[in-house]
């Protein structure tokens, strides 16, 4: 029996958000997906801020929501919520913000103040208890918000894009702090993010969501290194082609993908002809040529450029065969790449990993 078990679902105008979850005590699960995929909706269902159309929710041995029963009200769920906007109560000091949870749960004023000071100290905010939120920096506010959420001692902590509003200098700092504090407190956490890095650093397990449904799920390392859906590959920043094995050579297998292109790569494990397989390779391993290439590349596909977008180091070129290539801006200029340009893509077989699917 899992610590958290939910099959809450809700009908939205575009699609149904239905993401069953089973989370163990102390586990950190990341919900990864693009904007509008329904990630925050899942959190709001769990927190009780949104009524489900169906399903039930159990947490720490308590039924919080079940069909036909009155759902447990938000304050009694012991589910904390922290979003990208720290939403510190502006009229209360940092210390009083953190003490708010313990006070609401019946702790005396003096004890709550001590508990708040301790929690603030763990966040590296000693001596800041008397500051008002306006007197704090963005990173400090987010630390106070985390301290406040943890001080309430929730059975489950929901983090909704907790680093989304922070600048590039502050985000890594808070990410690291989240990692250490969640581990030390042993807080069961469901984290919503669209940033792969957050998921990679913070989560034990990743659930990938698209249009309200789970499209991939598994240990963080597995989902990020060997994604099982084109979508999780897209967000993990890798190319993924799924199809059937049509042949094999010396340590390599060849897969015919769904869109009829042939991919040859290194087999991760034994793959018989006819088996379902997924080919994974990095966009930086893809070479782009203006005309057909003479020579050795085993993988060689004609394609049309369908998109150009900024990538981590350069420009990501999206093509009609569903393969992305990362190029430097100089290379883009040299090739004169624009949307609609005809190109030839080439990838060395040694750069491609073929996983059973």
């Amino acid at each position: 029996m899992s610590y958290l078990r939910s099959d809450l679902a809700v009908q939205r105008s575009e699609f149904t958000v239905d993401v069953p979850l089973a989370v163990e005590r102390g586990e950190v699960v990341a919900l990864l997906g693009p904007n509008g995929a329904g990630k925050s909706t899942v959190l709001h269902l769990l927190a009780g801020l949104l009524g489900p159309t169906s399903g039930s929710l159990e947490l720490a041995g308590r039924v919080l929501s079940a069909p036909g029963a009155r759902p447990v009200p938000v304050p009694e769920r012991r589910i904390g919520l922290m979003s990208q906007d720290p939403l510190l109560f502006p009229h209360l000091s940092a210390g009083d913000n953190v003490a708010f949870g313990p006070r609401s749960r019946g702790m005396g004023k003096a004890n709550a103040r001590v508990a708040a000071a301790e929690e603030l100290a763990r966040m590296g905010l000693d001596g800041m208890a008397d500051r008002k939120p306006v007197q704090l920096s963005g990173g400090q506010r987010q630390r106070v918000a985390l301290a406040r959420a943890l001080a309430a001692d929730p059975d489950l902590l929901l983090l909704d894009e907790p680093l989304g509003a922070l600048d590039v200098q502050t985000a890594p700092e808070i990410r690291q702090l989240l990692r250490t504090r969640l581990a030390a407190a042993g807080t069961t956490t469901v984290l919503v993010t669209h940033d792969v890095l957050d998921a990679a650093v913070l989560a034990d397990r990743i659930v990938v969501i698209d249009r309200g449904a789970m499209v991939d799920e598994g240990p963080a390392t597995r989902v990020l290194s060997a994604p099982r859906s084109p979508f999780s590959a897209h967000i993990a920043g890798v190319n993924l082609l799924v199809g059937d094995v049509v042949g094999s050579g010396e340590g390599t297998v060849t897969v015919r993908s769904g869109n009829e292109i042939l991919v040859t790569g290194v087999a991760i494990s034994g793959l018989a002809t006819g088996a379902a397989a997924a080919a994974v390779f990095r966009p930086s391993a893809v070479a782009v040529y203006p005309a057909e290439v003479a020579g050795s590349p085993r993988n060689h596909w004609p394609a049309t450029v369908v998109g150009l977008e900024p990538a981590a180091d350069g420009v990501r070129v999206r093509t009609s065969v569903g393969v992305a290539a990362d190029l430097t801006p100089a290379a883009i200029a040299e090739l004169g790449l624009t949307i609609g340009a005809r190109v030839h893509l080439a990838v060395k077989a040694t750069e491609i990993r073929i996983h059973p699917h």
Binding site: A47, L81, F100, S104, A149, A152
Partner: protein, 280 residues
């Protein structure tokens, strides 16, 4: 309708100070408007016999009206707070057809001539009234008492408090309340420790506005409460009665008017828009 910036006014460019954009021909009506608002008050101040003002203000008639006005004004403001804060919260946190109907009903006394309100109150609380009949049977008489003054003032001032506070509550939103609930705070705790403090500046402004309206109330009071010395003769009623009486009484009316202007000026000082510290 979306506001669109005129061509040549791209964001970030500032071609001229805002004042220069006012067509010159509009300055004349603007100045006349200011004159219409300010000159009558000036004329009143010029009419004051400053040597006799202290005596006029401290005359039993003036002091009595001032005392009654303050007592009933404070009582009406308290009544407005007790009834208005919950009403504003209900309006701010509801949406849909019923809340629109409710808001229209709350706004009605605001656009109604207070005289009409006075007549309506009389038909509710009067001896022949729907509620008044029962109250009279119990020996409770409301019309033409100090209580009637307070009810009349509450009737005209309540919409000011409710609508102004509702605006503050809507602006404050529910996000802080949601966070407080996830931290384990029940509804009453959220109301007391989050909702009310967050709208503090707005509530203060609404209360002052409400008090000012109660203080100036004339029409509904005149019809529902009458004009009895020491019982229902508040400052506006005293001004009316003394101004329309003999010539020597007019100084009392002018002195009371001066007092009301001073109170209004003080209220404007309190209401002066200040940055809401701490609210982002």
């Amino acid at each position: 309708m979306r506001a669109t910036s005129p061509p040549g006014h791209a964001a970030g460019t500032r071609t001229s100070p805002a004042a220069a954009a006012v067509p010159r021909s509009l300055y004349l009506p603007a100045v006349i408007g200011v004159g219409l608002l300010v000159l009558p008050l000036l004329a009143l101040l010029l009419k004051i016999d400053w040597a006799e003002l202290p005596e006029a203000i401290t005359s039993p008639a003036a002091l009595n009206a001032l005392k009654l006005s303050l007592i009933t004004g404070v009582a009406a403001t308290l009544a407005c707070l007790v009834l208005g804060i919950p009403l504003a919260l209900v309006l701010a946190r509801s949406s849909g057809q019923w809340s629109r109907v409710l808001r229209a009903l709350v706004t009605l006394p605001l656009v109604l001539p207070p005289m009409v309100g006075g007549i309506a109150l009389l038909y509710l609380f009067g001896r022949q009234g729907k509620l008044g009949g029962y109250l009279f049977a119990l020996g409770i008489r409301i019309p033409f008492t100090t209580v009637a003054v307070v009810i009349a003032q509450t009737f005209v001032a309540l919409p000011f408090l409710v609508l102004s506070l509702e605006g503050s509550l809507r602006t404050a939103g529910t996000r802080y309340e949601t966070v407080a609930a996830t931290l384990g705070a029940g509804r009453w705790t959220v109301f007391r420790r989050i909702t009310l403090p967050l709208v503090g500046p707005g509530l203060l402004a609404a209360t002052v506005l409400c008090f000012a309206r109660a203080l100036g109330e004339f029409g509904a009071t005149a019809l529902f409460a009458g004009n009895a010395f020491g019982v229902t003769r508040t400052m506006p009623l005293a001004i009316y009665i003394y101004f329309t009486a003999s010539l020597e009484d007019q100084q009392t009316a002018i002195a009371l008017s001066f007092l009301l202007i001073v109170v209004a000026a003080a209220i404007l000082l309190v209401l002066r828009p200040r940055p809401a510290e701490g609210i982002r």
